[in-house]
Symmetry: C2
Subunit: 639 residues, 2 copies
């Protein structure tokens, strides 16, 4: 296919404009057909025509207070000296709020102004003007009155008003049917037993949920292999019942397949957009129905669907495009972006003190979890090559704006305890969330110093004093008022295959030719400690097999051993247990938290600190095995 | 009941605090039970426990590019002079993005760096470091990793991530079951044929839709009469299956029934809150289940449900309370509020030029339509007695914030044509909405002058020149750059019973003793014209029966005739047709629009003006009967 079709380099904005113009020109953005739905089921739907009241409500003159209905003319000139006596059931009638006014009456005297003389007569001593305390017919809604205009998204109170106007059904736009067709030979649907080398297809389910939110009707089509024949068969079979078809490309050759297919069997409008992630997007028509060929990765597919499919759906149901809420924030680290390309970057966003901060998350289009954890998305314009630390950026929010004040930024060393902390934090303070930049202890402290995090978790062993953390702080943070709070002590040890088949028991065993290790990333506390002990024992790191193979966290390290890609790694007991590896204890280390004093009394930080004193939290940490909370929450040092 | 129970005067904030403390103390705010739901159906639900990955994804080392998998050690030291030749299927293996790396390989050379020599051999001439272009297992998500924390509202991408972690179900909080029990003898459910003197019960349906949005499960109970026996029967029958019961009071005696019932059969915590609307709210417990007695009117019931029920529901599903978006705006007219009471006022909100403006809508708790049309709700603190024109107020939005720039404020004379304009506006500019203050021509122009509206619709007859609008503008708006644009001419005439049984044909017929008229409000153009013609003919208004009976719009005027409360009113043909009345043409009048020049080029105004030129709009106006669009859209005068 390569020689037949190649992506172009179209700018995003121009492509979008071309796409929508082309569809408009072909009358494909016209309003969707209308359907009549029961009012009770119409929440969130969009009215296709004005909803007009069939009944007046109330449909009669009614009392607006509890009291006595009378003819107002009888009250002219009365007072306490010369009150009016009126016969009940003839001249005066007890009425309740909302009940009809009897014939011959045109006013209601409130019950507290009525003096009951007997069961037959009442006395009134105040003038009551005509129509006083009387609601006219149609005060609530008049027949033929427009209750809801067309193109209105139906809310809770609208449902009440429609019912009140005597409507039992309301005319709304039919939900546009959006087909979602995933390509990929190595994909299996969720819920099917995992097979070796296969991946679970999830992108179609994400898109489906998005389309439901947009008032479209998603139609999940079966996963098909990355083959032109299968694509033709499935697309042509389904296209006539759809208003829009999304084809999710396969991971490799499949990338070009949707564009090639459209060129061959439909009309290819454009292929290749200068947007990262999402370059391989193609747009076209098949038998008069719009088709979008989406990139393979979830993040790209999601973004391109929001950019190219959402306007099509919204035009069809007469909605203006929703604008995501955005916020200005300081960017916490330098970031390069290719010129001439719109780039979308996932970020964590929150206020550090009074400063809004955005921190980039993983950039790969392929990591779905980083999208789940993201608070927002940053769009970098094609003309921008570099964002510097401290630059102000505009971030589109994926969460409510109010969450900015409830975000806690941590930076430093990674530990599984943070997952427990996260759960307990959300149990006790469900509104608070935290983002931990797992950038190692040293860079974590640098980020704290620059004002981009509230707390830095450090685990820095000082090889002169043999002490953790305090020497480092004394040396580098002596002019920052801060406290150092213990988080935990934990055992570090060798993670090895079950039964320790290679009998690895000491650091010198790492030098053996039949032993291949896996390492943690440079700058991490574990790495520093390893290097210190290797040095103490006079072992040359270059001689260790696999020393250069770095992993970003403990689970990845354990993963490497569990998958037999390494025999051993220095790590922690919970990771060993999680992946059913053996653990040979070697050392104990200490993780502390550095917190500037200016933050210790502000809300999300206070919630975090109070958590450290929770007995249940400590229990759960100890239950991990290899952890000690004997000093957890204790202030070990302050400046 | 009166002597047995009377409402207290509790402040809103204190009552809320007492209520939540009481429930907390009785363990009634504890988390709801947990249920397991299919991931695909979990959108919007709240996780009850952390969702932990069962599988690593990918669960193998995989290629991150298309290319050739090899052992990296084979590439040490190679270059273009001394390339590596590798045997396919033995030393080198074609791999696609995402597919597993064969045993013995630890790197992938991208396809564009591979020189295919034959079908058996490839040549590589660049060093490829270990793990280059290889994704480790668990890069997407590692087994045991927390995918979603507890207390997280599930979004589209979360569904993808859960599937990717191998989960097919997710543990969420059960939706709290909220019973809704409407009281009222004169109420019938929607969809039942209307009976004389009955009202459609709609409040329970509004509450039901709100509770669904809040992730609760509404349980609509049958409407019961306002009787203690019926209330006991229904409440006691249902209470055990509910987490919360809302009782909607009846309109009159029913107001005190829920409080009386709770005092008698349950625990009454409080009755009577200083909040308007909503004073008669009561709070209590029945058999250990929280019960809220709501006021009768929809607006009050809705507000009190949001204030007292929402926190209960949200605590049970572990959510922080949602905060409504708010906006600061200038208040467009003076408003008094009772001291010592929290008052909630419905408002229209939008930007007039660059000035955010809020205008109060109808204040009665009973008018549902004004809630439907409201853009926001203003809360007036107990200590505040008066809001002055121009005061800055904080308004809670009922619509998206972006809609502020799409709101058009009109003020002046009412006409049914504005309903047509509204529909066409939303057809052509679905994002624009307008609010028309129907305050009559003169007050409309005053509001425009003060900067609280974009456009003023006027219909002011000058009895010296016999001309419409221009004399008034010359006299009062001579220093304001503006344009006067014609909207329409229309016939005014007498609305009478079908067949004109009283043979009303001239203004002098209004003086007859057997003729009772209904009037429009003082300051309205119709009223001015009527007064002019009465004066011309020497008729004394005081002599006309019903002259003092004023209605706020044409439909209400027609309604009064149709319901036989008047024999005649001066009005317009469409209202006559709508309510099947006869129409006797008498006069022609002219409605124009006054638009300050500073607004004529800003967006919502331009959309409105362009609409006046639409042939379809004109056709529909003419089709109303009695209207002429011969000058519609024409500029008649400018300053």
């Amino acid at each position: 296919m390569e020689s037949i079709i190649a992506p172009e380099s179209n700018l995003l904005e121009e492509t979008l404009e071309k796409w929508l113009l082309e569809l408009k020109f072909k009358n494909l953005l016209n309003a969707a057909p209308v359907e009549s739905v029961p009012v009770g089921d119409s929440m969130g739907r969009i009215t296709a025509r004005p909803a007009v009241a069939l009944l007046s409500s109330p449909h009669f003159y009614s009392a607006s207070v509890d009291g006595i209905a009378i003819s107002s003319s009888r009250t002219f000139g009365i007072n306490h000296q010369t009150p009016l006596r009126a016969k009940l059931g003839k001249e005066a009638f007890y009425v309740d709020t909302g009940t009809p006014i009897p014939d011959g009456c045109d006013a209601v005297v409130p019950i507290e102004l009525v003096d009951p003389i007997s069961i037959e007569e009442v006395e009134i001593s105040q003038f009551c003007p005509p129509w006083d305390n009387v609601r006219p017919p149609g005060e609530e809604v008049s027949a033929t009155e427009v209750i809801l205009p067309a193109f209105h998204r139906i809310r809770a109170m609208d449902i009440g008003a429609l019912f009140q106007g005597g409507l039992s059904k309301v005319e709304v736009f039919k939900k546009p049917r959006v087909g979602i067709l995933p390509l990929g030979s190595g994909l299996i649907p969720p819920g099917v037993a995992m097979q070796q080398g296969k991946m679970i297809e999830t992108t179609s389910h994400i898109l489906s949920s998005m389309i439901k939110q947009w008032q479209g009707e998603p139609v999940l089509l079966n996963i098909i292999p990355e083959s032109l024949e299968d694509l033709i068969k499935s697309a042509e079979k389904n296209i006539s019942s759809l208003d829009l078809l999304l084809i999710i490309s396969g991971p490799s050759q499949g990338t070009r397949l949707p564009a090639y297919f459209l060129k061959l069997k439909g009309d290819l409008i454009t292929y290749g957009v200068q947007v990262k992630p999402g370059m391989s997007t193609c747009l076209g028509l098949l038998q008069g129905t719009p088709v979008i060929g989406l990139p393979n990765y979830a993040m790209s597919a999601l973004l391109m669907t929001e950019i190219f499919a959402l306007p099509v759906i919204y035009k069809k149901i007469g909605m203006g495009e929703p604008r995501r809420k955005s916020v200005s924030a300081y960017f916490s680290q330098p970031l390069r972006s290719p010129e001439g390309v719109d780039e979308f970057i996932r970020v964590a966003v929150g206020n550090v003190g009074k400063i809004p901060v955005a921190t980039p998350l993983s950039r790969g289009a392929d990591v779905l979890m980083s999208l789940v954890r993201a608070d927002g998305i940053l769009r970098i314009a094609p003309s921008r090559k570099l964002i510097k630390t401290g630059d102000v950026v505009e971030v589109y929010l994926l969460r409510p704006h109010g969450d900015l004040n409830k975000k806690l930024f941590l930076s430093g060393s990674h530990d599984i305890v943070f997952d427990i902390l996260r759960s307990y934090l959300q149990l006790e303070y469900p509104d608070v969330s935290f983002f931990s930049s797992n950038i190692g202890s040293v860079r974590g402290v640098m980020s704290l110093q620059a004002g981009y995090s509230h707390i830095s978790q450090i685990r820095i062993f000082d090889d002169e004093s043999g002490e953790y953390n305090i020497p480092f702080i004394k040396k580098f943070l002596y002019d920052t008022p801060l406290i150092l709070v213990n988080l935990f002590h934990r055992s570090l040890g060798f993670l090895v295959q079950p039964g320790n088949p290679k009998n690895i028991k000491s650091f010198s065993d790492l030098t053996r030719h039949d032993v291949k290790m896996v390492n943690r990333i440079r700058g991490s506390g574990t790495r520093m400690l390893l290097d210190y002990h290797l040095k103490q024992k006079g072992i040359e790191p270059g001689k260790l097999r696999g020393y250069e193979n770095e992993t970003h966290n403990h689970l990845n390290l354990a993963s490497a051993v569990a998958s037999h890609n390494a025999d051993v790694g220095l790590g922690i007991l919970p990771s060993a247990k999680a992946l059913k590896l053996d653990f040979i204890p070697m050392l104990e280390e200490r993780m502390d938290l550095v917190i500037p004093k200016k933050f210790i009394n502000i809300y999300p930080v206070t919630s975090f600190l109070s958590l450290l004193k929770s007995a249940k939290f400590k229990e759960e940490v100890e239950a991990l095995g290899g952890y000690s909370t004997r000093d957890t929450g204790k202030i070990l040092f302050e400046i």
